[in-house]
Symmetry: C2
Subunit: 336 residues, 2 copies
């Protein structure tokens, strides 16, 4: 919203345009999402509508559109349909996540679990997911449905592994990497893959754009985990270290563990496994002192470098590069 002409280090004006480019596409997405409501039984239509409206950032649909970009005026119906499919899958996983996290609020609204109760929310997530795959069968071949159903299974597997490891310190960095690869990067990857594929780009381009999506997804999840400790709302202290409190071992905690004395590391491990009361304020202060932010930001940069290298020579490359700038700026704003 700034009109200042002061040059900014991260120059947001250079890439924020990427989202204004998408407005027509995202409007088409919203129309398509709402058109799906008529497929639901009348008794559950309002519930499905509620979930669609709580949506949020539409990151995955944006990846579909940008990966298959043919111009701001070229709205390809196949891409709108694929974007709707991945968003419905994402919304279904959010409905189930909120039950499991016992979350009451998402984006300033009650979660479906709170509105309708956990039982109805389990089923509502199932119905959203079933409809997403039904919509995917409207493509001429089984390809989209196969890709999306496989990704969904992988997303669930990632969430299961994370759930089973909660409150355990017997989790390696490799485990963490695998969990975020499955639970987050997979749907980013398939979104990019489908966008490029349905736009008719070459097999090499489709492959490259998929690699981009995967590493962007990994980087995005690392950023999200970093924001759990360094984010604006977190610094107010209210929800500081939600992951920490729930025993979720994420990259900032790995980086902190590496930097603590063995004795203090052992104490932190006991906090993470619930054998000692957690000390979030102390741990956050240590993160600041010991350079945890820079370490995680470095890991994010590495993933973004892989993502960027993959698409350097590809047709949708220049547009997709903007997303790396957006994420870089978001990471930078955490530090302020």
């Amino acid at each position: 919203m700034t009109t200042a002409a002061t040059p900014q280090k991260t120059a947001p004006h250079a890439y924020s345009g990427v989202f204004s480019l998408l407005s027509g596409h995202l409007a088409a997405l919203d129309r398509c999402l709402h058109d799906q409501l008529s497929a639901f039984e009348p008794e559950i239509r309002a519930m499905a509508d509620y979930c669609i409206d709580t949506s949020g950032k539409r990151i995955r649909p944006s990846l579909v559109f940008l990966s298959g970009w043919r111009g701001a005026d070229v709205i390809q119906p196949e891409l709108v349909k694929a974007a709707t499919v991945v968003e419905l899958v994402h919304l279904a996983t959010l409905v189930h996540d909120d039950i499991m996290d016992e979350a009451d609020v998402r984006r300033n609204r009650g979660t479906a679990a709170r509105e309708y109760g956990p039982t109805a929310a389990v089923l509502l997530g199932d119905a959203l997911f079933a409809h997403a795959l039904n919509l995917a069968t409207q493509f001429p071949t089984t390809e989209v449905c196969a890709a999306v159903s496989e990704s969904t299974r992988r997303v669930c597997a990632g969430e299961i592994v994370q759930t089973l490891r909660r409150g355990s310190t017997n989790v390696s960095r490799a485990d963490y990497q695998r969990i975020i690869d499955l639970k987050t990067a997979e749907l980013f990857r398939v979104s990019c893959h489908l966008g490029a594929r349905l736009a008719g780009f070459s097999p090499a381009c489709v492959e490259a754009v998929g690699v981009f999506g995967r590493h962007l997804g990994i980087a995005y999840q690392m950023y999200d985990d970093l924001a759990d400790f360094f984010g604006e709302e977190k610094r107010i202290g209210k929800t500081l270290g939600t992951d920490f409190a729930s025993g979720k071992l994420t990259l900032p905690l790995f980086a902190l563990m590496d930097r603590l004395s063995p004795a203090d590391g052992a104490v932190l491990a006991e906090e993470l496994t619930g054998r000692r009361p957690p000390q979030p304020a102390l741990r956050l202060a240590q993160m600041h002192e010991l350079g945890v932010f820079a370490a995680v930001a470095g890991a994010i940069d590495e993933e973004m470098a892989v993502a960027g290298a993959a698409i350097r020579e590809q047709e949708p490359g220049p547009l997709l590069m903007n997303l790396l700038e957006v994420l870089r700026s978001q990471v930078g704003s955490l530090r302020r």
Copy 2:
């Protein structure tokens, strides 16, 4: 296990053969179900295996096989695959049902929710369902995946409506009919439909067999609801009227309500909505006195008559008729 030569009214030997006919097909199903495990991520394979083994009666796969019957020696791979898809969908819904019912035991084993916790069970059900639809994309066209995903959405919608109406007496018989049509009859219908379709029967036959499946499913759910009050285990008193206790308004309760004085009916309504302690022993005694069994058995007979009429002229008709005899005998054995 009886070897007596006494002729029995329901002559089980006449139709029990239908299940022995299926042994080769069900063995092929089990192999195919187990083959699916390799598709799951290594970390969740054991959990998926656990769910497959707790399976049970394999009713829906049997419907697929019988609806597309070409002989006991003719095991059609397409039918095995479709049977695996519908069974995986069914198993996924059981995993979610058991979380919601807070059930600890199913078929003498711990439920997935008890074994792995409710959070992992939500995700495991999702993963099973995702894989079922992924397997459905192995058919040459999107038809199987479209049919199964639509049925799944309808099954979930039925369960949601039932959940929302629990503990309410503002449920009509029409609501009950719709709930069981969605939550049970739909998957029976699609199982029959796919069996006949994949076996290459005529469109008229496929349609007729689907109608059979639907009404068999309605009859089966009515039988299940009757068994909740009149079943063997229920008469021991341990789990008598589980539906009653959970405020689920089923056909036996509708039939009882019709037969009570307005005053006593009002008391029953208060029991069902939790405003009074339930009196299951009294209500069961009243059901016996007031002819509730016969009323529900009559409704089951009506559904079976519609089911039977649909397939009278069709090729898989004679074989499918046996299933009506099996159900008739099961209903009869409740009365003993």
